[in-house]
């Protein structure tokens, strides 16, 4: 067991709750422990009260040992870790605004450049449980919307996955709230792509390396 990692997951679960990202639907946070294992929060536990005992270790090749009430969610996380060895953390959350946009089954255009920089030029919506659709929605992006659930975000660190989650919900808030004043004027496609590429190459690296150490050591 890695108590440090378990406690870091607890810390981020509390952050998710404090930032109003925890919702009424599915909410799970996981972090890669080794090449073949992860820690994941048990399903159905309110993040406000979550503690280290609610963070369980799941081995990618022994998912039959995963508690049945968390198995369905854990399997999706395992697939995401297996598909991308650079993925170090996965979050699924149900905040109000992102959920509203996901339920409408539309993508979030680049209404804010922090979303374009951190997540990618758009946040697409995928059907829950459709791993092929999720894969497509995540192509070139760190996160996407899941219909009927909210946000699926990934990152090298928990901090990165958490930040993606925050900026997507803010972009969803922007899209919804601006309707009453005439709507958003999104950044152009090329500008949004450029914002993402520059951020990923230039700005995210230094910080993420330091945060990776802080989360694990």
């Amino acid at each position: 067991m890695n108590a440090k990692l378990q406690n870091t997951v607890v810390e981020y679960a509390h952050k998710v709750f404090d930032e109003n990202l925890f919702g009424s639907n599915v909410n799970n946070i996981s972090v890669r422990a080794t090449e073949n294992s992860m820690y994941i929060t048990k399903s159905g536990v309110n993040f406000k009260d979550l503690n280290a005992e609610d963070v369980i270790e799941v081995f990618f090749d022994k998912t039959d040992r995963c508690p049945s009430d968390t198995l369905k969610e854990a399997l999706m996380h395992v697939k995401l870790y297996r598909e991308n060895p650079l993925t170090g953390a996965v979050m699924v959350t149900s905040p109000v605004f992102a959920l509203a946009v996901a339920n409408k089954k539309v993508s979030i255009p680049p209404v804010l450049d922090d979303m374009a920089q951190i997540v990618g030029p758009t946040a697409r919506t995928a059907k829950t449980n459709d791993i092929s659709g999720i894969r497509k929605a995540l192509k070139g992006r760190t996160a996407c919307l899941l219909s009927d659930i909210g946000i699926l975000s990934t990152g090298k660190t928990l901090n990165e996955a958490f930040t993606s989650c925050l900026v997507i919900d803010k972009a969803a808030h922007t899209l919804i709230m601006s309707q009453a004043v005439g709507g958003c004027k999104p950044v152009g496609k090329i500008g949004a792509l450029l914002e993402h590429v520059v951020y990923m190459k230039k700005y995210s690296k230094t910080n993420q390396e330091e945060l990776l150490k802080a989360e694990r050591e």
Binding site: E19, V96, F97, A100, K104, V106, S107, P110, V111, L112, D113, D114, I118, N159, T163, L166, V167, K170, H173, T174, L175, I176, M177, S178, Q179, A180, V181, G182, G183, C184, K185, P186, V187, G191, L194, E195, V198, K202, Y203, S204, K205, T206, N207, E210, L211, A214
Partner: protein
Amino acid sequence: MAYTEQELRQMVKDAGIRMLEENLVQGTWGNISVRIDDKHALVTPSGLDYVVMTPDDLPVVDIETLEWTGPRKPTSERKIHAAILRARPEINVVLHSHPTWGATFASTHLSLPAMNDNMKKYLGGDVKCAKYGLAGTGKLTKNALAAIEGRNACFLANHGVFVCGKTMEDAFEACRALENGCREYIERETVKKTGADEYSVDLSVEYFNKTYKK
């Protein structure tokens, strides 16, 4: 401001944490500058989380030449910070943040009318939106400087807000006044458009579901 450079460094570190706590920025986003003298300012470094950042990480930037010294490279937004400090000798603090309502308003490219007394007191009245430009470019600096002229705040299209003040406290008050003003305006317009008696978040979601088209 009668502070030592070390006191100013600590002030910037504390302000960074405060911006995170007040949800004015996420992660490494947003930046802060504080005037040291008529030629130099402390500016937050590029891509470094405020929790990780120490007071000694702050580079000193020459506001005329943009040359800098210190262990970390200053934010790419230093051009806007320096341009405001150069053009406005009475200003000692510049904050750049991405608050929820301010960023929402910035995505519309509209100007915000003065909504309350605090907006008049701390911002100087209405707030204009600088045209979109890629972060760190001369174009964005030019647009921001034009939008903030004669005021203590401006929006950066699709990005966030810049506010300034004589003191750190004034700058934070300006940030709050702007955030509250944006919220008041959007809520008022939502009530008007829907004909409801009072505002609720559900009203905005309902209006979005009825009117938003891809």
